[in-house]
Symmetry: C2
């Protein structure tokens, strides 16, 4: 087992990563002394792991709330479903939510925890690689609005994150690749050595090698934890974690949040972000090739096909990363370091074209 701490003063919490942790969940939850536990999961993960999670949490009133699966259900109706269950069960301020599932479950369960009685505690038990390396850490919770992804939400840090690598054995290959996109992103924005190690071990990761997965997840969590500790509410530095995401969000929005997985859109977005960095003169084209090769080896799509570049710009203007109408993007200064830059539209169009936009 590996352990990483997110240092946020009174809101600090441990991330535990390893094999067989779901069965040991009680060890991580008991110190929180909850009056009750509400496991929030979805219709895919629930049948696989809810019973084992329940068995691992004896001695306190526990219930399961099963949500519909998929990004398109990440709205108020689903949050409301969780809140109704909490009200019906008369969960009090010391009740605990356990988010058992991928990024969508974590975002919804975390947002419900942040708003119920103005905030109760929750524990993230991510069951996808993407959630284990990225979305379960850092306290971003929320839902989508028809006008944009994650527009409604809260910063609400979990009380613990427990990542059992065994749950990845039931994860479809495509979802595993989606998680690799965020792993590559963490290396690209903060640690070139981690990036190289991850590229070198991609095959082991895709083959579900438990030791390789534990190392990869711990490394990503260390990078993210250190950035979040310095800039919890994304006043500055934390924005580098959005590398590739403005492109990715546009792809997801333009394909109705259904054809592409979030991580796939981010993978493609990383390539466009590298292209953008190159055309702005901050990244050599040889490094763009390295990024492209990594994305391909991760099993991620590198190009969108036939989406309109001008529509994409319109969508990105509406994205929350485009403050005050100015189009700003996270770009790579080199592999291992990123910063925010204003981007002239002609260069943006070139990057989009390189990513397959027409």
């Amino acid at each position: 087992m590996r352990c990483v701490t997110v240092n946020l003063g009174q809101r600090s919490y441990p991330i535990s990563i390893g094999s067989g942790l779901l069965e040991r969940l009680h060890e991580f939850v008991a110190p929180l002394a909850p009056t009750s536990i509400t496991i929030v999961t979805n219709e895919i993960v629930g049948p696989l792991y809810a019973q084992r999670t329940l068995s691992a949490l004896p001695g306190v009133a526990t219930r399961v709330v099963e949500l519909p699966d998929g990004e398109r259900h990440k709205g108020w109706t689903t949050v409301s479903h969780v809140l109704d269950a909490l009200v019906t069960a008369r969960v009090d301020r010391r009740g605990l939510i356990v988010a058992l599932g991928g990024g969508v479950v974590g975002d919804i369960a975390g947002f419900a925890a942040s708003t119920y009685m103005r905030g109760i505690r929750y524990v993230q038990v991510p069951t996808t690689l993407l959630a284990q390396v990225d979305s379960s850490v850092g306290g971003k919770t929320g839902i989508n609005h028809p006008g944009g992804k994650n527009l409604i939400g809260a910063f609400h840090q979990p009380s613990a994150v427990v990542s059992d690598t065994d749950t990845l054995t039931t994860l479809p290959a495509r979802e595993l690749s989606a998680g690799l996109a965020e792993i590559l992103k963490h290396g690209l924005v903060a640690n070139s050595q981690y990036f190289e190690q991850m590229v070198a071990s991609i095959e082991s990761l895709r083959a579900h090698d438990a030791a390789a997965l534990t190392e990869a997840i711990a490394g990503s969590c260390e990078i993210k934890a250190s950035i979040v500790a310095r800039d919890e509410r994304e006043a500055g530095e934390r924005a580098v974690l959005n590398l590739g995401h403005t492109f990715g969000h546009a792809i997801e929005a333009m394909t109705g949040y259904s054809r592409w997985l979030h991580g796939e859109a981010v993978g493609c977005g990383l390539v466009m972000a590298a292209e953008l960095s190159c055309r702005l003169g901050s990244l050599p084209s040889s490094d763009v090739k390295l990024v492209e090769a990594a994305v391909v080896r991760a099993g991620l799509p590198m190009r969108v096909d036939g989406l309109s570049a001008l529509n994409a710009i319109e969508v990105m203007r509406g994205d929350k990363k485009a403050d005050a109408g100015e189009m700003r993007f996270i770009v790579l200064d080199r592999i291992g370091r990123a910063s925010q830059r204003a981007v002239p539209q002609p260069i943006l169009l070139q990057a989009l074209t390189a990513g397959g936009f027409v």
Copy 2:
């Protein structure tokens, strides 16, 4: 003008109280350098003050969102209406919300501000006495759930509070009395001298004497600011501000949030809380008489008529103040000091009966 500061480190903010402040709103908003301003108000306050507020805020894109009036609209549908307006106007992270109205407007606008892009800033411009002395201060925002009042929400501190006593001239007498309930409560839980002064000046306050109102509001804000500064998230001491509120919430819930104003229910709740304190042996019956006399002089109802005491207990069990099934209430140790106590059901029934429950 009087100024009170809420000391919360980086989240500290000023409360400005006095006559003619609405016209000077720019002075308080300009230091925040917002990229845009969204005035959230309701169908009653909007026609009276929205235009003057707009005129007082030149030089930045400003829009008005008018909500339906009343506690029964304090739900997600109304919050969603505000969020839609923010998305449509492409408000960015540096946009500002101005909550212009009473407690319901402040709660909804504040909750919308807390969830839009995971939190943007807002300024409270309360136009009712109750909002000026209580709900605009301290960062409690939220909405009702069919299962209970204020069950969904967030702690989100405003960036400033601007209380123009002139806006109280258009306030119905009944609403003014409702505000007096919270003024009396602040004296009862924290400052006997303030309580006595307020009782002595009730007639001036009910006659809209501007100087008396400014002093009363400033005094209440000082009490509340000092408690909130020590216990922002109601981990302990802040709970004393709920004196009379568990009773009040039950009255409101049992009468469909329509027959009683919140402050009226609290006024009646204060009498029952005093009765409870007396029957628990912590308050002499002469002090109960003082509380009753103050509530009557404030023009507040002292008794409910014909509501079921057993139903009330059931409702209060569901209230969020009843953690873990144990019935705990804020009681008076003396006039000017309060604490939390577990209350045996027979004594609770006596207090309810004294308040007119049957």
